[in-house]
Amino acid sequence: MSAIARAAQRLAIEPALVVVTLLLAGLIGVGAMVSDRFATVGNFLAVLEQAAPLGFVAAGQTLVILEGGIDLSVGAIAAAATVFLAGAVNGRDGLMLPMLAAVLALSALAGLVNGIVTARTKVHPLVVTLGSGSVLNGLVLLYTLQPTGKAPTWFENFAFGRAFGLPISALAMVVGFVLVGWMLRKTRLGRNILAVGGNPEAARLSGIGVDRVTMFVYAASGFFSGLAGVYFVSRMGVGDPRVGDPLTLASITPVIVGGTMLGGGRGGIAGTLVGVLLISVLNNVLNYTSVSTFIQWVVQGLIIIAAVSIFSGGSKRP
């Protein structure tokens, strides 16, 4: 098979990707018309930089949704991660790197607990993660209502620094997406995630370890949520117990817009990346038009509904 044919086939499999990419291109065009300052390298780099936390949580959410679940605890895990990291370091700069490792491990562990409970009890993950998110949120707010702790100044580089002229945070996001994409395509685990998401019963009867797959995706989602928390600590220098609130539902939007099917089995990480960029550029363009922030919510909601109805339109009949 030639490379072109393969590319064409890939396009045929993921029409969603084409649609979202066109939408993104159109939006960039609109942005350029709206403001002179929009279509500048500086602005694009800023958009990428700010897209990172949404990108992290959306990458994890993609895995969970592909597996047939949903994770409503990503915001809570991210908030807990900021408070834990900034609070534990609290000006003792030498602790930064070990605590960073610890907080990422703990975030993955929190996700793993979601996965274990979901796999073992067969309670719907919506309920499990809603519950665990609430527990975590409550604990964090019991600990502190105010932004707390202090991270070293050099750690700002994760959010604001540049490498090869590009934002480090955006590079980290892209690396995350590439890793997830590679895992989905090239490893047995990735294949099994798609199998379980498409038909868990058939997967089980094929001898696939459905429980282990479930545990992995939630642990991965926990890890990425923790990474988002780390980004916020880097950007703000403190831990903020409320930083995760808008993140949970926001993490689902790019996944759906990117063509991953709610319910699992079909979709991919590339669509999510374009979805993240679409949402980020949209917010950026609307900032330049000086309309209310709430308009962003309206437009985002419309895009979600429009995207999903386009994608599902062709595949309603079996």
Binding site: R188, L194, E201
Partner: protein
């Protein structure tokens, strides 16, 4: 038998009905007619178009061509509700009842007698329900909760529902697939009552015996076409089979394998208990043998298979697989020990619809194509291509999806999956369900080849011709218990049906309670 229908008018007449689905012509210029006061059988293999035809009559599908004449008037149904209002009532296999409501409430659902102020008149509803049940000649407490009734009684509630309206055409979609022989006898009596009262009954089944017992005429469908309508008195069994499958039974099945001499069994099951569905099942399966497991739907056959494979928990009993204990099976352990299980529910439990053929075939054996967690996709695709050639699966290639394939080709994909994975024992649950005759013949010869290669094959099937044509030894289950074993020339449909519906003391006691 009522002779009056011969001169009575047609209640329903279909002329040149065609219905297309993407890639399939499900009905092809079908003519069909049924009269008042007759029981008219609609006979055909799975996939012959019976369901599509019924849904067209009932307004669930709009035909692409042709006309529907109901009660002398040409009709175009805009919805199933409209057909229902006109007097067409269809009873599907999955009953549409509210299990938490009473018999009377179900009979009058959406249409309850009202008293003053528009409140439901409960007394009138109960006495109305009683009157209708009396008309059917069926004794049933109108106040009983439907969920507590047997499936057979629930069918009666459905029929009673039909009688609250002026139903002129009643369609029964394979009602006996889910009830026992004795219950079926009762159902046939009720159908005769309905016939006497001038209702036209269309009876769908693929069980020939039943058709000879209750029906006046039969229309045979094959591959979406009507093969013809015959008076039941003017036709015999063999002719009907030939009409239905387009060839005689002798051409469909390969020559039976000789019975296997007693060797050490590959699979040995002793006193398997999974109450209440399976109670004390024991049997042996030998290398090179095709063993049939017959019985009615719900007799516990699939549960036995699930317990052996490890996808359902058993309570007790021992399983020996290839000489080793296999008492705490999991699907993975079974597969690793060489045991495969092709389930009856191809879409729900078999295929990974969103993945390609290669991924479907390699699902249980993906480890063979993995090193350090990394997939060797080219090797997977190459191997799948071999299987596709071997099983002659009609598909563009190993990387094509499985969703659009025909039932027969989907089934062959699953055959490829399990024969690739398992080299000792294969359990096949309804291996030809929803598969056309051509693919059936191929599947039968595959099963034959597998046994010839030394596998032990356990075939669970509700199709008696399939069991009889394939298996040199048959065990029969009824209500969770093995009721007998037949081998050699003793394998015939009467004996199997007798064992499958054999009255058990325990069952009788329970029914009486």
């Amino acid at each position: 038998m009522s002779a009056s229908f011969a001169e009575s008018r047609a209640v329903i007449a279909l002329q040149g009905i065609s219905k297309y689905f993407p890639g399939v012509k499900s009905l092809d210029r079908v003519n069909f007619e049924a009269k008042a006061g007759e029981v008219h059988a609609l006979l055909g293999e799975n996939g012959a178009g019976k369901s599509t035809l019924i849904k067209t009559i009932a307004g669930a599908y709009t035909p692409d061509e042709g006309t529907i004449v109901f009660n002398g008037k040409e009709r175009v149904w805009s919805s199933p509700g409209e057909a229902k209002k006109a007097g067409i009532h269809v009873i599907y296999q999955e009953l549409l009842l509210f299990s938490e409501l009473s018999v009377a409430e179900n009979i009058f659902v959406g249409d309850a007698p009202r008293g003053r102020f528009g409140f439901v008149d409960h007394g009138a509803m109960v006495s109305g329900a009683k009157a209708i049940l009396d008309r059917l000649g069926h004794r049933l407490d109108p106040r009983a909760k439907v969920g507590s009734l047997s499936v057979a009684d629930q069918q009666m509630v459905e029929i009673a529902k039909a009688l609250t309206r002026d139903t002129k055409l009643l369609v029964l979609d394979e009602p006996t697939a889910v009830i026992s022989g004795r219950e079926a006898d009762l159902l046939f009596e009720r159908m005769k009552t309905l016939r006497e009262s001038g209702v036209c009954v269309i009876y769908i089944s693929h069980r020939l015996e039943e058709i000879f017992r209750v029906c006046d005429r039969v229309t045979v469908l094959k591959d979406g076409r009507s093969v013809g309508t015959r008076d039941i008195k003017s036709i015999d069994r063999d002719t009907l089979v030939t009409m239905m499958v387009g060839r005689s039974l002798a051409d469909i099945f390969p020559k039976k394998r000789a019975q296997v001499a007693d060797s050490t069994p590959l699979l040995s099951v002793r006193d398997l208990q999974m109450p209440p569905r399976v109670r004390g099942v024991s049997f042996d399966l030998h290398a090179g043998e095709i063993l049939g497991l017959a019985g009615l739907v719900g007799a516990g056959r699939s549960e036995v298979a699930h317990a052996i494979f490890g996808s359902m928990a058993k309570q007790s009993g021992t399983i020996t697989l290839c000489g080793a204990a296999h008492n705490a099976p999991t699907p993975r352990a079974s597969i690793d020990a060489g045991l495969g299980f092709l389930t009856e529910d191809r879409k729900g439990e078999g295929l990974l619809m969103l993945l390609d053929a290669a991924a479907n075939i390699s699902a249980p054996t993906l480890r063979e194509f993995t090193r350090f967690g990394l997939l060797n996709r080219p090797a997977e695709v190459t191997s799948a291509a071999d299987e596709i050639a071997r099983f002659r699966i009609a598909i563009p290639g190993p990387t094509a999806g499985v969703r659009a394939l025909s039932g027969g080709n989907q089934q062959k994909v699953l055959f490829a999956r399990w024969t690739r994975a398992c080299h000792r024992v294969l359990i096949l649950d309804e291996p030809t369900r929803g598969v056309d005759v051509g693919a059936k013949v191929e599947i039968y010869s595959m099963i034959h080849d597998l046994a010839a290669a030394g596998l032990g094959v356990l075939v669970i099937s509700s199709e008696l011709p399939e069991i009889i044509g394939l298996c040199s030894r048959v065990i029969v289950m009824r209500e969770g218990v093995l009721t007998g074993e037949l081998s050699g020339d003793a394998v015939d449909d009467r004996e199997i049906m007798r064992l499958a519906t054999k009255n058990l003391a325990a069952a009788d006691a329970r029914d009486a309670a």
